[in-house]
């Protein structure tokens, strides 16, 4: 970090102490509780992702507290709503780190927001959990990325659907970093499995008329369409695709459809037959998950949102961190990191979730499922998938002192491809 310079030490004694003795100052002062902060969008365009994540985070903390808390202390959870606005992300991140003296912050949905706040947490030596599925590539000693990355899901999905439907693949993706990187992985796995990429097309996030592309797909006659479309406007693609009668002739597979609960925003007929891959689905048939879903619905009522990977992982992320604290016996940053890297694991709704110490990502189960009647039927379960993409570039065991986002400018810039 560029910011860790000598002048900083001179500015004020309080901040200097934070730098010099991470984890003691401030945290010791408020010793009766453990401070956790959550910064997730609960209003604005990203609230379809953020609201369920906040719900499950609150639920996890309430459960931990009801069970006696951590290290005999209660967790004091503060939730901030940055309203889908990056200036409020940095505002709240600074507040969490410098004023609330948070022991851990669970925050961020988009990569842009994560990168903006990660710098702040680095500087104040604050432990940071990012529980969103994303493009991979973050390599930072005090950051844990628990969501799935494209190599984990795309690697399983592509061969499965190619075997089922055929080898000619047409890719449609959102025109931003995540969409591009996901499309790159899809292209790679299509090639690796002996398939053919017919075309790849990118769409701005606010486009909601897909007519010409649907005609192009009709002209190209692929065996299947792989979608990495993201967000509310892109829901239109699936609906217009079905309206043109395409859903019955060329099937769609995706690792992004459903993460904003898109499968409830389109009708059953429009979505039937689509195949997706996630590391969590509400329909997972285990006692732990059924219990979890039951408790969630009891807490948030009959019209509680569908629990997607983001929501479930926010819950599991809180528990995973709690396991680390328990094992460390303190909330000291270095101790918790060391404990998390042993590695700790947590058996949650999605199955076993384990920290991968080289990358600070998670080893997790991946599920393939088919959509029928706005519900998923799980087709395959792949146990304990490694974050293979981030592992290609990141080794925190060898080089612990780094804080880098390797895929900031795509895979090619990171030397992959």
């Amino acid at each position: 970090m560029k910011l860790d310079r000598r002048r900083f030490l001179q500015t004020t004694s309080a901040t200097a102490a934070v730098m010099a003795a991470p984890g003691i100052i401030g945290r010791a002062a408020a010793d009766d509780t453990i401070k956790m902060v959550s910064i997730l969008d609960q209003s604005g365009g990203l609230d379809i992702y953020g609201k369920p994540m906040v719900d499950t985070t609150v639920m996890a903390v309430e459960e931990i507290n009801a069970a006696g808390g951590l290290l005999g202390k209660q967790i004091d959870l503060k939730t901030y709503d940055p309203q889908s606005n990056i200036q409020f992300y940095t505002q709240f991140a600074t507040q969490a780190a410098a004023s609330d003296k948070a022991d851990v912050v669970h925050a961020g949905i988009t990569s842009a927001s994560r990168e903006a706040i990660r710098a702040t947490f680095n500087r104040f030596r604050t432990l940071y959990f990012y529980n969103t599925l994303y493009e991979g590539g973050v390599c930072d000693r005090s950051t844990y990325c628990t969501g799935s990355t494209p190599a984990q899901t795309v690697e399983k999905l592509v061969p499965y659907v190619m075997k089922k439907w055929g080898k000619k693949v047409y890719i449609v993706a959102a025109d931003y970093n995540y969409g591009h990187i996901t499309a790159d992985w899809v292209e790679k796995y299509v090639r690796d499995n002996g398939g053919e990429n017919v075309a790849t097309e990118f769409f701005p996030l606010d486009v909601n008329n897909f007519g010409t592309t649907i005609k192009k797909i009709q002209a190209a006659k692929p065996d299947l369409v792989m979608s990495a479309l993201v967000g509310g406007a892109h829901v239109a693609f699936y609906r217009q695709y079905a309206a043109a009668g395409m859903n019955n002739s060329i099937p769609i597979a995706s690792t992004t459809f459903g993460v904003g609960n898109e499968h409830t925003l389109i009708s059953a007929e429009e979505g039937n037959g689509m195949i997706v891959a996630y590391s969590y689905l509400q329909e997972i048939d285990t006692p732990t998950n059924k219990d979890f879903v039951g408790r969630f619905q009891a807490k948030y009522g009959a019209d509680a949102p569908y629990i997607n990977e983001l929501a479930a992982r926010s819950y599991e992320g809180a528990y995973l961190w709690a396991e680390g604290v328990k094992k460390a016996g303190s909330t000291d940053l270095a101790a918790v990191i060391e404990a998390l890297d042993t590695p700790v694991s947590y058996n949650g709704p999605s199955g076993k979730l384990e920290v991968e110490p080289k990358t600070h990502h998670a080893v997790q189960n991946v599920y393939l499922a088919e959509l029928q009647g706005q519900k998923y039927n799980i087709l395959e379960t792949y146990e304990q998938q490694q974050p293979a993409d981030t592992l290609l570039v990141c080794d925190l065991v060898k080089e612990p002192n780094q804080s880098k986002f390797y895929f900031e400018n795509g895979l090619e810039a990171a030397g992959i491809k």
Binding site: S43, G44, G45, D47, I48, K51, P52, D175, E201, F202, F203, P204, D206, V207, N208, N209, G211, T212, T213, K215, K216, Q218, A219, G232, A233, H234, V235, A236, R239, Q240, A242, A243, A244, G245, M246, G260, N261, E262, T264, L265, I266, S267, A268, E269, E270, D303, P305, Q374
Partner: protein, 289 residues
């Protein structure tokens, strides 16, 4: 050949889409000089009326063609009476007021229905084959609706008494008022009709798009640009700007890609306004409606 026909239809649909999402804004702006920043939210409300009512067993066609415009139109009248009425002659303050209104509507819908509402509807009318291609029958229906809607607005303005009064008020509010027209009533009706048309558009698009509280943001900029590029004539302006901008968008989207299609639309609007500083109907079709 089949491809050419299918594509042509697609581009015409893109134009019709632009007409639908812009016309409500054009009515309110053209008649009242109010830039309604809550326009996108009126479209969103139309979609919500359809999704919520069909979830409660209401027939889709009834919800789209009747319920949505009526409900959103009434909301428009209420908004005009409570808020906009106090701000006539203060165009800039209406920017702030309608911005606030847009936030309120998003917040209200999110509070009542959550960040998303599950839907059960899909586009009716099935797919229509065009040789080896197929296109959505419902999109063809929307093209027809856009044409009919434009014709109805034209006839209403041109041949009905209300239309005459409205045009008179639009051209010279003082004079109309002096001649005994209740301009306040005319404005209330105009705002209501504008809102109803926006709600109608949102309802019609509901089976083809995602309906979310925040979805209005995807419409407002495009509608705003289309209406202003069209100039002061409500109908001729909006339709001619839609044809131009929608056509360019469709062709470039197909030829280069969707991102460039969006950019081309915007660039075309900038160049157009430079060449015609009062919009298309500021220069040509001046006498039109």
């Amino acid at each position: 050949m089949d491809l050419a026909i299918a594509l042509a239809l697609q581009i015409i649909y893109g134009i019709a889409n632009l007409v639908l999402i812009s016309l409500g804004l054009a009515i309110i702006f053209g008649m009242m000089r109010v830039i309604n920043l809550a326009h996108g939210e009126f479209i969103m409300l139309g979609g919500y009326v359809v999704v919520i009512s069909t979830n409660h067993g209401v027939n889709l066609w009834f919800a789209m063609l009747i319920l949505a415009p009526v409900v959103v139109g009434l909301i428009g009248v209420i908004v005009e009476r409570l808020l906009i009425r106090h701000l006539y002659g203060r165009m800039v303050d209406t920017l702030l007021a309608t911005w606030g209104l847009s936030l309120v509507l998003i917040g209200l819908i999110t509070t009542i229905f959550g960040a998303q509402t599950a839907t059960t509807i899909s586009a009716p009318l099935g797919a229509v084959p065009i040789g080896e291609y197929s296109t959505s029958g419902y999109e063809l229906f929307l093209i027809a609706v856009a044409i009919v809607l434009s014709v109805v607005v034209y006839l209403a303005l041109k041949f009905t008494r209300i239309g005459l009064v409205a045009r008179g008020t639009m051209q010279a509010a003082d004079m109309a008022s002096a001649l005994g027209v209740s301009t306040s009533k005319v404005y209330a009706i105009t705002f209501g009709v504008g809102a109803a048309v926006s709600g109608f558009a949102g309802a019609l698009l509901a089976p083809l798009t995602g309906v979310l509280p925040t979805i209005g943001a995807t419409y407002i900029a495009k509608a705003f640009i289309t209406v202003i590029s069209g100039g002061t004539a409500i109908l001729a302006g909006t339709t001619s700007a839609s044809v131009l901008l929608g056509g360019i968008n469709g062709i470039v989207s197909f030829g280069i890609g969707p991102t460039m299609g969006e950019v081309a639309l915007l660039v075309a609007a900038v160049i157009l306004l430079r060449l015609m500083p009062r919009g298309i109907t500021g220069r040509i079709f001046r006498k039109s409606l």
